[in-house]
Subunit: 355 residues, 2 copies
DNA sequence: GACATCTACTAAAACGCATTAGTAGCCTCG
DNA sequence: CGAGGCTACTAATGCGTTTTAGTAGATGTC
């Protein structure tokens, strides 16, 4: 089964079969093989089958370098994650996303080039290098920002891209597709849930300022809160880390007239926040209700279990990957809306204490 | 600064500068350029400098496909993560590891091909495909198992590999390097800590059976517990998920003579376990001490904060990446020991309740 | 001053594939 | 029966790089 029988390390290195080998064995020219294997016209069904069989038999796979050099495609797409090391790996979001992405890519034998860097400038440098080296055919962009240099850069490099989590593209970014979820509606459903329980004073512990969805959620909170008649609702921004989540929670609870509910922009901060409540002896949800934006094992594992906004993250990844492949096949730039996240009420939300 | 001025999407697509362009501009042959740019002899210092300057000026980067086709190297290494979707993204381990890996790779302009798959068979298939497509120069292997087919496969494919978290290579795997931490000593330090506090009955909630480090930890527990005079210590295996961690904890606490301390093999299960304790009203550490193997934000964020075995995961990644690069440069197969993890006592461990 | 030895280069081939431009052989049609 | 048009192929070229072989010209040697 293995190409090298037995001990392959010391014996002659295994040679990969090439199109030439197939051609020789099938008694045809190399071009015929190429045609046959790529479904191009120019070979009869009979020889096509024969060639296919030979290729199968030899375990042939196209040499990615040769194909990339000859054709236009490298068969790779890229994903770079710009996060300071400190805030890395605390969220389950990325691996889920990536796993969805891969499901789609693997089917088409497209590989994923992955890189984590410290900041967005380095991220841009990576794009430039990938472009110059002709390493990738397109990229997936995460953590879109309010004023984001990346779409423009990628457009100028002519590198197809799909922004994940971006709003519908404005007239400034007509070159990149996007896949996004309706944060406004999601925020509305969160607030409706809290309003229904009787809450009127809430605070939103948001993620990084500058990120597009942070700003959208903050805006949504404001308008929606106004509509429902909440008073004094507001957002504070953090870096998504447990540390800042806890710190924000402490400050909020120290205020003279603390809120009866807090909405956290990710699971990690929500957990950190509920730990702060526990350490102060504030009962959840008796005196404080907590909502996590984004579910994860975390939210279901701590006590009390956290009410969370659940979204199908790997589905999100699948959608984005599919759209990128479509773009690579010459499809139009699109803006795709993912399924609306739904609120899953658990034990951390309840009616506020009556004063 | 950007290769295409202004709106690059509709104008002529940007052409990447090639060696030929540099050659023309510098008035030399293409080979001279290649020599100059790769530090090979055969060009005078003067022209070498001139060529380098031109390349810089044009923003030239070697076309990865051409280089891969011509030379032997693709400039990529691979990492595949075989995890059932269910247990994905709950640990912070991987992103940390990958971030360390990249630090080293990026310096050498080596890209990382990343893939997540469902099981180890698919993982092997990925290796075969990567090999056949000549996509990667080497791979990093994670989650080594007791009877692992991968080292042999990779050796037979002549694909340099570094196993991360493996024991010192036995005589059966003389072809792959490995980077590992001393689990035995780590387990000893955990048990010493608990013993000192007065614990005599402990249970170890381990990870997946079949994983090399799971088996090693289980063995270490047994021998070390025997040495220290623990009675009835044992290990149970899980799939690393929060669900199984919680379930195992429940079963353990339901026993007639429950342990006074539990050691969990990852952070997620430890958190799940402490939630179970909380839901049953069992005080931690008053009635039950908890230790997490592997630290993360999680452990510091919940209440009480969990005593954890801290290791420098990204350092681990750096070590592994460096070793892989050394292998690619023709270095010998080595077995590298990483820094010993250290126990960080926090609030979740204390003296057991006196009966 | 003929010959070997450097140095600094150039020409050409190779890597594995896709693709374009042929080219036989056969069929059709007027 | 010869022009035109198919079908099923082959030959040749190019992609951008590395590498091997080769070649002028300068320098040294006896």
């Amino acid at each position: 089964m293995t190409p090298a029988g037995g001990d392959g390390a010391r014996t002659t290195p295994v040679r990969r079969p090439t199109i030439k080998d197939i051609a020789r064995r099938a008694g045809v020219s190399e071009s015929a093989v190429s045609f046959a294997l790529n479904g191009r016209p120019g070979v009869s069904q009979g020889t096509r089958d024969r060639i296919r069989r030979m290729a199968e038999e030899l375990g042939w796979e196209p040499n990615s370098a040769a194909r990339a050099l000859s054709g236009e495609r490298s068969g790779c797409v890229g994903l770079v994650l710009a996060r300071p090391a400190r805030t890395l790996g605390v969220e389950s979001f990325f691996l889920q996303l990536v796993s969805g992405v891969q499901e789609v890519l693997a089917d088409r034998k497209v590989a994923l080039l992955f890189q984590v860097v410290e900041d967005i400038e380095t991220e841009c440098a990576v794009y430039r290098r990938w472009w110059a080296e002709k390493r990738v055919d397109g990229v997936l962009v995460v953590d879109p920002r309010a004023h984001d240099p990346r779409p423009e850069l990628l457009a100028s490099l002519d590198l197809p891209a799909v922004v994940i989590g971006a709003p519908a593209p404005g007239e400034d970014t007509p070159h990149v597709s996007s896949v996004w979820a309706d944060d406004t509606a999601a925020m509305a459903s969160v607030l409706a849930h809290l309003h229904e329980l009787g809450h009127r004073r809430i605070v939103h512990v948001a993620g990084m300022p500058g990120l597009a969805h942070t700003e959208r959620r903050i805006r949504s909170l404001r308008t929606e809160a106004a509509r429902l008649g909440f008073d004094g609702s507001r957002s504070v921004t953090t870096d998504y880390s447990d540390a800042e989540g806890a710190e924000a929670t402490r400050r909020i609870l120290d205020e003279p007239d603390p809120p009866t509910a807090i909405v956290f922009d990710n699971d990690v901060m929500a957990v950190a926040g509920s730990a702060v409540a526990a350490e102060r002896g504030i009962p959840v949800p008796g005196r404080l209700s907590i909502v996590a934006w984004d579910d994860s094992a975390l939210c279901r594992v701590i006590h009390p279990r956290l009410t969370a906004l659940v979204r199908d993250t790997s589905g999100f990844g699948r959608l984005a990957a599919q759209e990128l492949l479509d773009r690579l096949d010459g499809g139009p730039v699109r803006s795709i809306q993912a399924e609306l996240p739904h609120l899953e009420p658990r034990e951390s939300t309840g009616p506020p204490a009556t004063l």
